[in-house]
């Protein structure tokens, strides 16, 4: 029997108690999304990997998981990009600098950057999926010697919903970055590419033997992005994906985030594709 025996509670951790952090800055990204800069007490470092997340809480409202959007190379503070969709995020949208919020984490398995080192990095981000991917993008940009080329495919529903527009502009102008963006439906003055995100993939210039790719977006996107990548010859072993599931604890206890037998908050949210290929509920 592989059941682990009862361990001493003194050695067990307080899993559910937050640290009270402070919102330092609030920047509206779009109608729905806001970027928060958060500082831990005493200037402590969060110490995260790109792709990891924290649980954010407001007392009396609740707690929810959010990806860390800033790169670990940025010190002292970290950033969260949050879309307004419900109870907690509604109230967060009204918060201003100085407000105390509870933070637990960082949680989960982020991007295994060691396995991306020395390779071209392809990021495929749909909609709010850019929020966690931005952490990796800036990480790569801050350590240019460690990685090969950076290729970014970003898809948004419309040009009005594009996130981080000032940074997008910087990426576009960076000669070391192949930055592509598309919108499902452009406004009349949109001059860029129109179409779903998968339409960007056939036109990419890829070095298939030296590539690591990470995908993050809305649930419907994964299947199609995978098909597009596979048809370009991207190897399964070179694909990672960041998944979202409902979660309540972030520490592998509450059961909500299970995909078959796997806990997204423990084994994910960033999965190596070969690991989850066999999980029927994953994609």
């Amino acid at each position: 029997m592989k059941l682990q025996d009862l361990i001493n509670p003194a050695a067990a951790k307080e899993l559910y108690l937050p640290v009270m952090a402070e919102i330092r800055d609030v920047r509206k990204l779009t109608e729905l999304e806001t970027l928060y800069t958060v500082a831990l007490p005493g200037g402590a470092e969060l110490g995260h990997q790109p792709g990891q997340f924290v649980a954010v809480s407001l007392f009396g409202v609740g707690e929810a998981p959010f990806s860390i959007s800033s790169s670990p190379t940025r010190r002292g503070v970290f950033e969260l990009g949050i879309r307004r969709v419900g109870m907690l995020t509604d109230v967060l949208a009204g918060c201003t600098a100085g407000r105390k919020i509870g933070i637990r984490g960082p949680f989960g398995r982020g991007i295994d950057v060691e396995r991306f080192k020395g390779k071209d990095v392809l990021i495929v981000a749909g909609g709010i999926g850019l929020v966690p991917m931005r952490s990796m993008i800036n990480y790569v940009l801050d350590r240019p010697g460690d990685f090969g080329r950076l290729i970014i495919c970003y898809g948004s529903r419309s040009d009005r919903e594009l996130l981080f527009t000032d940074e997008l502009e910087k990426w576009r102008r960076n000669p070391n970055v192949d930055f592509r963006v598309t919108v499902d439906r452009g406004s009349p003055d949109w001059t860029g590419h129109t179409g779903v995100i998968t339409t960007l993939i056939p036109g990419l210039n890829l070095d298939l033997d030296n590539l690591a790719c990470c995908v993050c977006g809305p649930p419907v996107m994964y299947r199609f992005a995978l098909l597009a990548l596979r048809s370009r010859g991207v190897k399964e072993k070179d694909i990672w994906m960041s998944l979202e599931r409902r979660m309540k604890c972030g520490v592998g206890k509450c059961g909500h985030c299970q995909i078959n037998g796997s806990y997204v908050c423990q084994d994910g949210p960033v999965y190596h594709y070969p690991e989850i290929k066999a999980l029927q509920e994953a994609l």
């Binding site: 009396g60 409202v61 419900g86 109870m87 509604d90 109230v91 009204g94």
Partner: protein
């Protein structure tokens, strides 16, 4: 919050039990009053107000006059809360919708039936936008307090979307099916803390249905527990006539 929210309370076609239930918060009434200004409430006061932040509305809509008045309430309210099942689903009133309206009027008023105009009993949401619901017949006090504190704090209240059985289990009740009774708890939306089964009565479904009820399954359960299919449907209809209309 700089200013206390202005609250108004209105009643349409219903038994006013929900409003009475508000007056029955003896322990919390004074706390509630500390958070808000009650500016209009016909059952308890004379004042008539102009505009309000939160309107609590009881009852279903069943006359042309109701429809006119609810539009007026909606125009003047920032947030509109449907109070009690009559307001949320049409409630018991909607049972009359299952029979031809002329027949019903004739039965009650005979040759005088045209004296009093009537419409099918409608939930508020059939006519105006409803922001939040407090369900129950009478409205569930614990849920009212939850919605109320959420609104005072400026957050969106969440409505449970699981069955009464969940709360019944959390309280470790003996299931009334075990006592040889029937129960509508398995498809009825929770939020009452399984009040009726806790005191030995079956759940009569007064909080309306969960969002994706398996009605055929529920009917089969009722038949297995001794009702005819016809009786099973009637029992389910009591609070869900408007909702089941489409289903059949």
């Amino acid at each position: 919050m700089t200013r206390k929210p202005r609250v108004a309370i209105f009643d349409f076609t219903g038994c006013e039990g929900c409003e009475l239930n508000q007056l029955n918060f003896e322990d919390q009434l004074l706390d509630i009053l500390a958070h808000v200004d009650i500016v209009e409430w016909r059952e308890a006061m004379d004042d008539r107000a102009g505009e309000y932040d939160i309107a609590f509305v009881e009852g279903s809509l069943s006359t042309p006059d109701c429809i006119k008045r609810i539009h007026d309430v909606r125009r003047r309210a920032k947030v509109l809360v449907a109070l009690g099942t009559c307001a949320v689903t049409g409630g018991v009133n909607a049972v009359k919708n299952t029979r031809p309206i002329e027949e019903v009027r004739e039965e009650v008023y005979g040759q005088d039936k045209y004296l009093f105009p009537t419409l099918p009993a409608l939930p508020l949401s059939a006519v105006v936008k409803v922001d939040h619901n407090v369900r129950g017949c009478p409205m569930t006090q614990i849920e009212f307090l939850k919605v109320f504190t959420a609104l005072v704090m400026g957050k969106r209240p969440i409505e449970p979307d699981y069955a009464v059985c969940v709360e019944c289990k959390l309280r470790e009740n003996e299931c009334v099916l075990e006592r040889g009774m029937i129960c509508l708890g398995p498809v009825t939306r929770a939020g009452c803390d399984a009040h009726c089964p806790t005191v030995g009565q079956y759940c009569i479904g007064c909080r309306g249905l969960v969002s994706e009820p398996n009605i055929a399954g529920m009917e089969e359960i009722l038949v297995d527990h001794g009702l005819s299919l016809d009786d099973a449907r009637r029992r389910l209809q009591l609070y869900n006539a408007n909702q089941l209309e489409g289903a059949k």
